[in-house]
Amino acid sequence: MTTGENTLEGQATNVEVPPEAPASGASTAGRPSGLRSSKGYRLLAPFLPWLAGALALVVFANTASPYVLLISGTVLIYAISAIGLNVVMGQAGLVSIGNAALMAVGAYTTAILAKEESWSAFPLPIIISGVIGGLLGLLIALPALRLRGIYLALATLALQFFVVFAGDRYQAESGLLSGVPVPPLSIGDRYFVPGRDFVLLLGAFLGLTILVVRAMSRHAPGRMWTAISESELAATAIGVNAARWKLAAFVVSSAIIAVSGSLFAYYNQIVSAETFTIEFAVVFIIILILGGMGTMSGAIVGSVIVVSLPYVLTRLTGTLPSDGIGEWLSNNIFYVNNGLYGLLVLVVLLYMPQGVVPSVTGLARRLAHRGADQPRSSDRPARSAARPAVAKGDDKPAVLEVEDLDVMYETGARAVSGLHLRVEANAIVAVLGRNGAGKTSTLRAVSGFLGTEQVRLRGHIRLEGKDVLGSSPGRTAAAGLVLVPERDKVFPSLTVEEHLRLATSGDYRPVLEKPHFHRLRERLDQPAGLLSGGERQLLALATAAMLKPRLLMVDEFTLGLAPVMIQEVARVIRGLRDEGMTVLLVEQNAAAALELADHVYLMEGGEVVAEGTPAEMADRVTMTSEVTS
């Protein structure tokens, strides 16, 4: 990302090419070269991975031990289910804990149909399970149209309890307390029991699932889902019918999951409500988290890890010495195996939040590109040379010195470039500029807000000579920088008195004795959320003053205030300065700021375009700033 960053003045376009070259098939289409252009290859190319996959599965099914095959069958079923869940969670971004319930519906449907002579012929029970799953998906989607995030998840949690309850009742009514038996799957007169053939059959089902889901996600449906998952509101604003596509996602996903439940019933030959617990549902979310949300390969890899890990661990335990840790492990292997997912998911969330597959491929890509973007530190443009720091005579450092500050958001938004600012002690300095000029970003950079967000900062920010660039807001606050933000400057549910108590562990009353804060005395018991805009500003300034800041920064204090109130707040700020405080104002309201400030900077398009005393600046501050310095 930083490869094109050696910007100098003359740079015309800001286009930066990301280091990774496009590697998708689409871009190679118009590039005839050697083997790639041969017609046979191009016709075959899309099928090669499929052929390879099928071949690998056949070889595997014929060579693996029965024990491994038994486990692989479960892996394949889990993978189908996880891919189904991924449609809703990974692609459409809708949280669901209803996976176990949907699998249970498929399993019970199959168990019931497989007993009936006229309904049991392959693939009827599987298809009907899918259809019923899809219909149930439609039902789940109804609350999903209203609910978002965690509320939706809890609604699907309710589904879980309903289905298990119904299953329990069914088992109790029919006297099958230990589970509903399922006759083995048969195609023609061929019976499938867990083993080689069943694994091949499941492999075919997995392939079919991948094919279907891939067909959707490569086309418009996939794009709509991604758009909805990124921002439903924005998606509808550009024309996506969110309700329709959410419905579609739930139907498709539920149908696939129900089919996996049907296969699960055939595979285990028994269906019991006890299987389909919340933990079982969570396992599939964990599979997606582990493998990497949003990709089918992630769902498959996650299934492999989650299903096989307990077996692997049990094996390993057997090889450990039978005392100490080995003994402890083998005694508790059952619990450890059950608890392993929990530990795994925490480890993944903390150390590879993208999931295993994307992390591994990302690492590989980084390794491959190492060396490509080495020059990171040396590409600073020599701006400071072009624009020497203002020499101020005395050696005492200014309260605040900003040099060569660049602010660029990870989103690509550039807010500030090559900024210089200097705030002397006991002065009011104002930064003027229109909305979007980069003023607020400058303040946020100074106060440390940007250190915690996804922002790239460069340059120097010195508070009394100490560099605070990239510190957290807590740090800068502790160092003596206090910011009164543009909005959200008070805690709405805290009363005025509580604000004052928050600001000091001592007695807060002296601050109310100051004439300019008198107004707050009548409001002590009121929640700040009920105060007027002006009163909020006063309260914010009062609490800020109690923190005894080295530098008080006020963002757009005039915003939303009536002229009378602006005058009152301006008097307060001047009063604080007279008591010895240093103040940095950021303002859109030039008239107010020009009267208050001792020194003024004018910002435009992320840069300082002029500075001087208010008198010097007065006629340069115009609406259509044709200011060229």
């Binding site: 609350p143 998840a153 609604a155 604003a237």
Partner: protein, 293 residues
């Protein structure tokens, strides 16, 4: 009033108080850190087991064992924040939910490894036979203790949040974490305390449950999940709401058990939750959030 109905009502009061105390911990944690905690049940269980061990194995008198258990759980809660959730600050809501699910599995596993899967029944600490009755609404000492403890915990927490400086700081963090850090509030410390409180509340419920019935892993786990309907009924971010929601849910469950049979109690709870979700997603007292484009 028939005897069964009276029993159902007194049962509802006890159950409601448990929901209330678990729920208030949940709400405090959610408001201060934005974490929706699915590990309540597991923490409850661990609290109950620690109490059991302190009382049965270490031989502490039950009030001491109880104090010990809830304090240990407070520390464990704070450590959970410092060890895990501190690193997930700023993560998406869903990521945090998954993390608490993972945490739940871990806490459960650790508990099962230490104490085993069986249900542990304590010898009677407080009498389980009827202490007094209002009309034919009978209460045993242990039930009264359970209700009173829950109410005291809720009242004390509510008071502490409103009156103490730490309480004010926590509410400040809940209102606006960024502004709080600008006001020199130690946001991490407050979050750790919030986790401590959530864990503490779960433990109080766990101890009360254990004293009245037994240290029963499945039962407590289910109860931890049932706190969700209770919380959603009241509104996920409302302390007042969770009290109302807790007792309302308990009442609904008891009536369902009374009218339809015990196995209906859980289903009715979730059906109620679903109805509230569809009709009024923010619960009865919850606040709305706005999305900006």
């Amino acid at each position: 009033m028939s005897n069964e109905l009276a029993q159902a009502l007194s049962g509802a009061l006890v159950l409601g108080s448990l929901y209330a105390v678990v729920g208030i911990g949940f709400v405090i944690l959610y408001k201060a850190t934005g974490v929706i905690n699915f590990a309540q049940g597991a923490l409850m269980l661990m609290g109950g087991f620690i109490f059991f061990s302190l009382h049965e194995s270490a031989g502490l008198a039950w009030p001491l064992a109880m104090a010990g258990a809830v304090l240990i759980m407070f520390v464990i809660g704070a450590l959970i924040y410092l060890g895990i959730f501190r690193r997930l600050v700023g993560a998406e809501e869903f990521t945090l939910v998954i993390a608490t699910l993972g945490l739940s599995v871990c806490v459960l596993t650790v508990s099962l490894i230490i104490w085993g899967p069986g249900t542990r029944t304590l010898p009677e600490t407080l009498s389980r036979s009827e202490l007094f009755s209002i009309g034919n609404l009978g209460f045993s000492s242990v039930e009264v203790f359970s209700i009173v403890t829950a109410l005291v915990v809720v009242a004390v927490l509510d008071l502490a949040l409103r009156r103490t400086r730490i309480g004010i700081q926590m509410r400040a963090v809940a209102d606006g974490p960024l502004l709080a850090s600008l006001s020199r509030v130690n946001v991490h410390a407050m979050s750790a305390i919030a986790w401590g409180i959530a864990s503490f509340c779960a433990a109080v419920a766990g101890v009360a449950y254990t004293m009245r019935l037994s240290a029963d892993p499945a039962g407590m786990h289910a109860l931890g999940l049932l706190a969700f309907p209770a919380i959603l009924l009241g509104g996920i971010d409302s302390v007042r709401g969770v009290l109302v929601g807790g007792f309302l849910l308990a009442l609904a469950q008891s009536s369902a058990a009374f009218l339809l049979g015990g196995e209906w109690s859980e289903v009715v709870a979730y059906a109620l939750m679903l109805a509230v979700l569809v009709v009024r997603p923010r619960g009865f007292f919850g606040s709305r959030q706005a999305v900006r484009l």
